[in-house]
Amino acid sequence: MDEQPIAIKTLTIDGKEVGARSGDTILQVAQEHGIWIPTLCFLDGLTAYGSCRICMVELEGNNRLFPACVTKVYEGMVVIIHSPRLEHYRRVIVEMLLSERPHICSVCVSNGHCELQTMAQLLGVTSVRYPYLMRKHDVDASNHRFLHDDNRCILCGRCVRVCSEIEGAHTWAFSGRGVESRIVTDLDQPWGESESCTGCSKCVHVCPTGALIEKGRSVAEMAKRRQFLPYLTVMRKEDAE
């Protein structure tokens, strides 16, 4: 047996000394030690993506902010998760997400089951300082089982990743730039006409908001089931090996 010994790194997260494997991200280590770092685009079982910037942390000795989900640990790292600056930026991010699309929780099928709503509550977002853009996005209801509502999308990309990494269908993709960004199926065709979609519903269940939902769900009824994902990821890895 000539297995390489796993290199152990020691670091400090919010004053707590913790051990980690070399190659781990700050988020992985924090989660293993029961330390909460807010996340939105991250989902266990999918490739970390670092797009939402909610998980930004401070590293002592560096003025930059680092996304915890994609930043690898190193020996002697001192991570700060809670500071007035970080809390300010996290709230600003959530407020910008809320103001970019018409997120109206009270009439949303995901009310009470929405990660954006929960994040706003956890971060104490009681009001939005920016005017809502209130751009109207058409709802794509062409799929007979599912519905795509761009009005509720935060562009986290979980649907894009689960579709390519787990299902292997590559149905979902990003289109446009900046405020014009949208998720689209195939070559921006109606979902119901997509030839690549297998109808597996993984995208619906990893979606953190009411952007991808099952048809026929009434307000506050769309609870997502995503327990399947880590098991699927492990099984796919085992199959590959």
């Binding site: 009270s106 009439v107 099928v109 009310n111 109207k136 058409d138 709802v139 209801a141 062409s142 007979h144 519905l147 509502d149 119901g192 048809k215 026929g216 769900r217 009434s218 307000v219 506050a220 009824e221």
Partner: protein
């Protein structure tokens, strides 16, 4: 010199409105208008949304009677499904609707109207509120608060929330009734009936003092419209249209509510955001009709519950047939509250009420759906059209209060002509102009917020539009 008197806003009603009185050169009231000053746009901004969001989305138009919108909206969606929903689901929806009528009527009678009835129309404005009633007669005010609480708690017990529960869904309801909740709701019925017994005793002891108001508060000939059950009795959830004329003749009976467009049409006026429905056959404005508690009791053969029918007999022997004065809306509300409690007790004793079969699942089978139910203030109609993917393309809501719009305008004019003297504006006279509106209990797309100004401002404006005098109270 011709003048306009403006009462803005009208207080102790749900929503925001203004009344203008036009005086002629002799200072006599020439015309009166009840203007609804808020615009909501629900019919427009729902377009493009999935239809199964509609019950909860439309319910957001109101914080007082959201349950009525939930029910009419869900019934319209059932019609889009083109399915018959399970019997226990119908009974549970009916239960919640009755609880909502109970709490809404209690709100109008005790909180909004009782201050006028308790202290008199000419009393000091500072006293005309529920707090002052509580100081003078704590038991009466507490009864009102408790009665409303009973209704609200039933809504919460069934739907998880007092305001805007999302329990009523297309196809039924999303959770069955538990035995514990059944017992909890049943436990409140005797207390509610005891409160209403005391309310009626108080009302009968004082109603003779309001004979001038009975004679002039919207006391005129009109048609009466509502839904009745297959026996012609009082019904709030599912029935057919009945229309009665001013002489008490039933002119339309057991008309399918899906044919509402054969029965009524809506007119618009430039000076208000509220439409004017009228009976199509008679035209506008001759086809004026009234809805709500007074109309429902006028058109119904009976309530079909013991205590409510006893009081209905008393009501019918003391009023004209049909009861023409809108002042009698107050009495009718008390009778309906008794009915609500008795009917809820019957429903809760139904052997199927605890069934877990409370929802039908379906895809839309029709592109056109209509839902009609009786809200506290009258007949409520939701009409939706969808495309082949289930997205809304068009909506028409005929809100209960809107049916009464012609009658409310007529009633305001009648009261103003009887009590307002252009030479001398008195607080009591202007309060009566507002009080007749309160008798109708309008819900002017209730949940909007005013601009912060709460005082009643009366402006005297001369024929050239110049402000002559202004007073705030």
């Amino acid at each position: 010199m011709a003048r306009t008197i403006s009462i803005d806003p009208v207080t102790r009603i749900e929503g925001h409105a203004r009344i203008t009185l036009q005086l002629n050169d002799d200072g006599v009231v020439d015309d009166a208008r009840f203007h609804v000053t808020q615009f909501r746009g629900f019919e427009k901004f729902c377009e493009g949304r999935p239809f199964y969001e509609m019950p909860s989305l439309m319910a957001r138009t109101c914080g007082i009677c959201p349950v009525s919108h939930l029910i009419a909206g869900a019934k319209a969606c059932d019609d889009l499904f083109a399915v018959q929903i399970p019997y226990p689901a119908q009974m549970l929806r009916r239960l919640m609707n009755l609880a909502q009528i109970l709490q809404s009527h209690a709100l109008n009678f005790y909180y909004l109207s009782l201050p006028d009835l308790f202290f008199g129309m000419d009393a000091d404005p500072a006293k005309r509120n529920i707090i002052a009633v509580a100081q003078e007669n704590p038991e009466l005010a507490q009864d009102g608060i408790r009665l409303r609480q009973i209704g609200q708690q039933i809504i919460e017990t069934l739907g998880g929330k007092r305001i805007h529960p999302s329990w009523v869904v297309p196809g039924g309801v999303n959770a069955p009734l538990t035995p514990e909740h059944r017992e909890m709701i049943l436990g409140g019925v005797p207390e509610g009936l005891a409160i209403l017994k005391r309310a009626l005793e108080w009302f009968h002891a004082h109603r003779d003092a309001f004979k001038p108001e009975v004679n002039t508060f919207g006391n005129f000939s009109s048609y009466y419209l509502g839904i009745v059950n297959e026996k012609g009795n009082l019904e709030h959830y599912d029935g057919n249209f009945r229309v009665m004329d001013a002489a008490g003749n039933i002119v339309v009976d057991q008309l399918d509510t899906l044919k509402y467009q054969d029965l009524i049409a809506e007119a618009n006026e430039a000076w208000t955001y509220e439409k004017f429905p009228y009976l199509k056959e008679l035209g506008y404005p001759d086809g004026m009709y009234r809805v709500g508690p007074l109309a429902r009791l006028n058109i119904a053969t009976a309530c079909d519950t013991y205590r409510a029918d006893e009081e209905l007999k008393n009501f019918r022997s003391s009023t004209t047939t049909p009861a023409a004065s809108s002042f009698h809306y107050h009495w009718a509300r008390l009778i309906e509250m008794i009915y609500c409690l008795e009917r809820m007790e019957q429903i809760l004793n139904d052997p199927d009420i605890l069934s877990t079969h409370v929802r039908a699942f379906a895809k839309p089978n029709s592109f056109n759906g209509i839902g009609v139910a009786e809200a506290p203030r009258g007949t409520l109609i939701h009409h939706y059209r969808i495309d082949e993917n289930g997205l809304m393309t068009w909506a028409d809501l005929v809100i209960a209060t809107v049916h009464n719009n012609l009658a409310m305008n007529r009633a305001v004019l009648q009261v103003a002509k009887s009590f307002v003297d252009g030479k001398e504006l008195t607080d009591g006279a202007l309060n009566r102009v507002e009080a007749v509106i309160r008798a109708f209990d309008p819900c002017l797309s209730c949940s909007t917020h005013a601009d912060g100004r709460r005082d009643l401002q009366v402006d005297l404006i001369d024929a050239d539009g110049r402000l002559v005098d202004s007073t705030t109270r």
